[in-house]
Symmetry: C2
Subunit: 339 residues, 2 copies
Amino acid sequence: MKKDSSSSPMVTVHEVARVAGVSAATVSRFLNGTAKVSEEKRQAIESVIEKLNYKPNVLAQNLKTGSSRTIGVLTQSLVSGYFADAMAGIDEALQGTGYAPLIVSGHWHADEEAERIELLIARRVDGLVILSGKLKDAQILKLSQRVPIVAFGRDLSAPRAYGFCLDNYWGACEAVGYLIDQGHRNIAFITGPSDHQDALARLAGYRDTLAKHGIKEQQQLIVGGDFQESSGLLAVERLLESGQRFSAIFCANDLTAYGARLALYRRGIRVPEDISVIGFDDLHSSMYTTPPLTTVRQPLFDVGKCLGRAIVKMIGHETLDIEVPQLNLVVRESVKRVD
Amino acid sequence: MKKDSSSSPMVTVHEVARVAGVSAATVSRFLNGTAKVSEEKRQAIESVIEKLNYKPNVLAQNLKTGSSRTIGVLTQSLVSGYFADAMAGIDEALQGTGYAPLIVSGHWHADEEAERIELLIARRVDGLVILSGKLKDAQILKLSQRVPIVAFGRDLSAPRAYGFCLDNYWGACEAVGYLIDQGHRNIAFITGPSDHQDALARLAGYRDTLAKHGIKEQQQLIVGGDFQESSGLLAVERLLESGQRFSAIFCANDLTAYGARLALYRRGIRVPEDISVIGFDDLHSSMYTTPPLTTVRQPLFDVGKCLGRAIVKMIGHETLDIEVPQLNLVVRESVKRVD
DNA sequence: TTGAAAGCGATACCAT
DNA sequence: ATGGTATCGCTTTCAA
């Protein structure tokens, strides 16, 4: 093995032990508080550690303990504000626990996710946090035999696999309910990907809320999107071309709303004077769109904190006392009351 | 030591060797291609590995080789679209190299940065990528004695520390030059933090370009900001209250431009009909603001790829053939020609 | 080409 | 309370 190429000559427990006149075991015990060490030796060890500037070799600890003190985090995108919030939450939860996050992205592709997870497991992560994705629950359950898992965007409750969702259905009901409260009757909906659980829940919320208020659903007012801005833009163009009347658009997420808003702008249609727009997610930037976007807030940072804390507890065999964060409607300026 | 708690009984090189009827050394050699292995044994080993589903223990490899095959990445924010792009680039560059990124955030705070870096070094990262931040070049140079470093946002060129900047001065000149081309003479500037290198360069570019075109700089048209949306909003309000005339605003970054745009919107001032706005960065969302933002693009993803490739080469003692990505003006719809 | 054996640096068991 | 020693799983001399 190559010696450390840096300047300091790599001091080990044995070296510390030798200089302090004790055994390596004692040094280790002192370091980990595994057993009592006499005051006398404690001081000796402490001062030698100080003098030699000793730092335990994490790699050796890892091998010996069989743990890397690392949490694998599987996200779906490194550049999405949505996931970024959750990762920040995880990061915060992990601070001071001795665990560091190892982040990989699956890009919404089951095969890639599986591959990245194998990589994470090969690196001996002590736990796994999975943010959404396309893996089957069954796969995750299976994976959880090899490593404890906490997931977001799926309901799981096995010994070593726990997962929760936010109530997207409820959120969509709130959004549409609010629109109806404001006097809207002809409400368009731009959907998310049809294979996306949350997108489906939002669609269902839209439909049910309409029905609940005795408003007949109009097939032409529901147009397909994919959670990206471009699809919102396209959708509005189609909506406009269809000649259907509508006074409000519920967008399956904020990104879609941005695109929709731009399409409206291009046609000289004012928001909210002519048409109201409501989104879902509450990305940071939604506070600064023109007009600021009324939307359903997903507390992703809190979700991340929850997940981070949960995986640490699961690893420590503590009981998970999860309090699932709640969605809530944030009213800004993109919806106008009509009569 | 606890044995692996999962189902599979943890197969080692020795196990493979025993079953294949060879020595552990040979198995290792085969795995790493360190030396020639006879065809016969190669096959035997291969099939045993397959049958036993053997996976090398990375932790043991790490200890033995003294390397964690990990790259530490110090960012300043986990939720910034700006840094996220760079991290995605790094991630892409690292794919297939066997290195995984360990990401930490310094939150623009020198002490925190230093602390996080110590953490990274304690975890025996093989290299470090530093994204901006407030550390002194001297500190980085010193750190580079312990671990090779590649940095963005500073000019460095030591054996084990390389860093580059994008030409923010040039970018600002482009932006202001464009505004002047479009007939603007009274151009306001909302600055970035005064202790931020890039912000200063952009200010200098603004000033020099004005001067170059014989336009007298008006002190009241330069107002302080901090790269956040809220500061753009505030700045515009101050600008408006000052009673100064101006037909365009150059914002030190896109976030600031978002805030500025909202302030204008609130006052019923149209963009670009009444006032033109230009930003800096070209965040993803700038394509979908209303109107889409004209701005100076920072190719952060490419920067990230550059950095990722560079650190890998530096670790492998290869020569770094960096081609620093270029800024460029992207013209959209937030600037109008005036006469 | 191949094998035996010596570590890498820390931890933990077993004595004392 | 403390020390000796085996061990974690792999890589890599050194000999053959």
